[in-house]
Amino acid sequence: METKSARIGLRIWAALVICFLWLPLVLIMVYAFNSSNVQSWPLPSLSTKWFPVAWHDPQVREAFWLSIKAGLTATGIALVLGTCAAFAIHRFRFFGREAISFVLVLPIALPGIITGMALNSFFTNRHINLSFWTIVIGHATFCVVIVYNNLLARLRRTSPSLIEASMDLGANGFQTFRFVTLPVIATALISGGLLAFALSFDEVVVTYFTAGAQNTLPLLIFGLIREGQQLPEVNVIVFAVILMTAIPVALAQRLTRDTGVLRRR
């Protein structure tokens, strides 16, 4: 369809954009081998001494596990709430339908600092201690919309005749859900969940205001950045995170491919 020169131009553009996106990542991986603890260019010399430092640092491990636990819990809550909301909005017409859609988008549409400030004041005024659970509440709130959007998009592309056919064949509500609806939405749930987890894992602004003395990984990284003497350790941590997350991201991509169940024209 497109002319040959257009295709070549587009290919070059895509390559440049990829370089733009990955330049800082490559830099981070290179600086993980920086021997000096102050970053400058060119690198004074290379060294792997920061890898064991990061591995053995108890603060890093604690922050990492806290991020994982908070992410999983928040994603779990977001899956439940997002699924409920998506089904309700998709299946029923009722007063306030548009308003609910709007409200769900707010945590992401509004700047994170507003959400963070609001939640912090909310917790402090009610004398609720900032803790793991306040972090989870904050994260779940902005993760709901991601699951909701993914699921709603999938539901809209699914033909309703499937449900009717299932009922016609004698299945009750629960059976229909388990054998017909769930397989259709499964991949949307997983990809929504993965995206929500990714957002929670790297979130720093809302977490800053809803965390107590705990450090999630991003909060720890921010502290190390401001202290200024352990930057290569930070680069090592991010290097490790990039390597570890390659698999879930590839998985998410596989799942978002349209499995096409009776696509509506």
Binding site: R226, E227, Q229
Partner: protein, 377 residues
């Protein structure tokens, strides 16, 4: 006779009550460590050099949240932090705010054995002791310095005028902190004596406006107002700044990274800080907190922190340890003759509307904060 005995008994009872009233509610011994300690600290105050031995000795694992200004510390404590963090290394301009907001609790100095070794001026300074009640243990003190690149800044600056002149336009940096207005006022107190500034933290509206005016003139010369210590380190290391207001921590980090920098205290004098470790009102790990207070005030650890950061310890016995770590550091940081040097520094304190001269027309701190934000915008 009986009446005398009854009267004496009553007086004795009152005396006992008065004595214990000051220390009522204070712990009398340090219990078993809780395994964890959460602190709010200045960047550079919790280096592994002295934190790791503490963790090994006491089993209290230390978690720190860094803050770059007293305001940040007060905000952290006010927004739910007083039940999360155990200790906060508050400077003089934060300590009173924390005390009056009831975010910190009194400490029993008898549980800190090294307290007796402190220099007299730091045992019960007015910024952490009210009516004999100690709200913390003094920690370290030091000046805000003028940092400059020895290769690119010639001749060596001797006055704060260097950061207000266009000679190094676009290569100057100062802290992003409203208390900097006091530094401008300090400079004006010597360069424009007609303004009559005696205390840079107690400014009448006219004096305040003059200081803001000076800062507005300085604004186009600034490359960045540094909020994080690593900001200034990076600015100097990577050639974006050649002169600026700084803390000694940046100098020691840059020197270790072989950057050609040094610092000085200009002839107009300097502002500075006097830090106190304060105990949160609802500290979740009080025993570990007291263990830390005892540990951090010992001469050896005081020396380690002083030399690492570049500040002056409050423990009078720290000198020999300092010289062992870095020859001549005791004299360099005036740890052996502190009082004369101490009197030269205008330590941070919270500007209040009530001036010391009894009048009520000084500019209070919230106005400093607003004016600072507007000046930068």
């Amino acid at each position: 006779m009986k009446r005398v005995i009854v009267a004496l008994a009553a007086i004795a009872a009152l005396a006992v009550q008065a004595a214990s009233a000051g220390t009522s509610g204070l712990p009398t011994s340090i219990g078993k460590g809780e395994g964890k300690l959460n602190v709010i600290a200045w960047e550079g105050y919790t280096q592994p050099e002295w934190v790791k031995p503490f963790e090994q000795q006491t089993g209290c694992q230390v978690n720190f949240k860094y803050a770059g200004s007293s305001d940040e510390m007060v905000a952290l404590m006010s927004q739910g932090g007083d039940s999360q963090y155990d200790l906060v290394s508050a400077s003089g301009d934060a300590s009173l705010r924390l005390i009056y907001s009831k975010l910190v609790q009194p400490v029993n100095v008898k549980l800190v054995p090294s307290w007796k070794q402190f220099n007299a001026a730091f045992k019960s300074p007015p910024n952490n002791t009210i009516n004999g009640v100690h709200y913390g243990i003094s920690l370290q003190w030091g000046p805000n310095t003028l940092l400059y690149n020895t290769k690119l800044v010639k001749p060596a600056p001797t006055s704060w005028a260097a950061i207000y002149s266009p000679k190094y336009k676009g290569k100057i940096t100062v802290p992003d902190n409203p208390i900097q207005i006091a530094d401008a006022a300090l400079y004006l107190s010597k360069s424009q004596p007609s303004l009559g500034i005696t205390d840079p933290y107690e400014l009448t509206q006219a004096q305040f406006n003059a200081a803001i005016g000076l800062l507005k003139q300085q604004r186009p010369l600034i490359v960045k107002y540094w909020a994080l210590a690593s900001d200034e380190i990076d600015l100097f290391k990577n050639g974006d700044a050649v002169i600026g207001a700084s803390w000694p921590y940046q100098l020691s980090t840059l020197e270790a990274a072989h950057a050609p920098v040094t610092d000085t205290i200009p002839k107009e004098g300097a502002t500075g800080w006097l830090d106190t470790w304060m105990l949160s009102a609802k500290a979740p790990h009080p025993n570990c907190a007291y263990k830390w207070l005892s540990y951090i005030s010992t001469p050896k650890v005081q020396a380690e922190q002083a030399v690492s950061y570049g500040e002056t310890p409050v423990n009078s016995k720290a000198c020999p340890y300092m010289n062992k770590l870095s020859k001549g550091s005791c004299a360099q940081y005036h740890a052996n003759a502190p009082i004369a040097y101490y009197k030269q520094i205008k330590f941070w304190k919270t500007p209040l509307a009530t001036c010391d001269n009894g009048k009520n027309d000084c500019v209070p701190y919230p106005q400093w904060q607003q004016a600072w934000t507007q000046m930068k915008g």
